[in-house]
């Protein structure tokens, strides 16, 4: 397998709802330029958007990193923030600790991590309370038949 190539590294600001979604948009545009399968781009876009929103809603700051290699696409979302005390609970649909402000905007439905899980082929979450969270999302290219 070839060395992974880092295509993008985008900083994400916590609590900045105005620019939120831009990292996911850039990831999508970059993958479109590569001519990647559109169903795969949809999955990557959704998962990246949710991971980006998690940083905006819950963390102080973080970054989204896009990598590609011969096997597929990897998106890394890493933040400095409060971390996730109970990962099982956070993965439960409907569970959320989002602020009232975020909820009023239509976020914090407790669907972010479940959406991410549904869209990824491989998901690793490494989190430490009061330190931060690292989410590694892997997407495999569809096999050509």
């Amino acid at each position: 397998m070839s060395q992974p190539r880092v295509l993008l590294e985008i900083p994400v600001e916590g609590n900045n709802f105005t620019t939120a979604g831009e990292a996911a948009s850039r990831v999508k545009r970059t993958l479109q330029k590569l001519g990647i399968d559109s169903a795969l781009i949809r999955r990557v876009s959704i998962a990246t958007y949710e991971a980006e929103m998690n940083i905006v809603i819950h963390a102080e700051y973080g970054k989204i990193v896009l990598q590609v290699d011969a096997g597929g696409v990897t998106v890394l979302a890493e933040d400095r923030g409060k971390g996730i005390p109970d990962l099982n609970q956070a993965m439960t649909a409907g569970f959320s600790t989002a602020s009232d402000r975020a909820r009023a905007m239509g976020f914090g439905a407790g669907m972010g991590l479940p959406n991410i899980k549904k869209c990824t082929d491989q998901l690793e979450i490494d989190t430490q309370v009061n330190v931060g969270t690292k989410v590694v999302m892997k997407f495999t290219y569809p096999t050509t038949s």
Binding site: F17, M53, M105, A109
Partner: protein, 110 residues
């Protein structure tokens, strides 16, 4: 149905994307929860919502939605309009309730 036809059906006002109204719509999605929309809405659909902040544009862009329709008299923020213009997203508004809007679109399918 094209966006142009849809505008008449729901008495909508075109805020942005006048040049894109000949596009055919591929369905309708109704929700104010962004995670629900991002997870379930499909390319080419129009999205009915009362959320008017800038982030709705990002959602529409990521999913290639045909338009965002702000219902029940909701009007998008200035920032939302600017972002939609820059990204080529169609924004429509209607005074009709979400229920009435969805009902008329359902009745006028195809």
């Amino acid at each position: 149905m094209t966006l142009e036809e849809l505008v008449k059906v729901i008495d909508a006002t075109v805020v942005t994307g006048h040049e894109k109204l000949t596009a055919k719509i591929r369905g309708v999605y109704v929700s104010d929860l962004l995670s629900d929309v991002i997870g379930h809405a499909q390319e080419g659909q129009v999205w009915l919502t009362i959320q008017t902040h800038t982030n709705v544009v990002a959602v529409a862009l990521l999913l290639n939605l045909a338009a965002i329709i702000f219902t029940a008299g909701a009007t998008p923020d200035g920032e939302t309009v600017t972002k939609a213009q820059n990204e080529g997203i169609v924004l429509l508004t209607t005074a009709l309730s979400t229920y009435e809007t969805a009902g008329r679109l359902y009745r006028n399918q195809q």
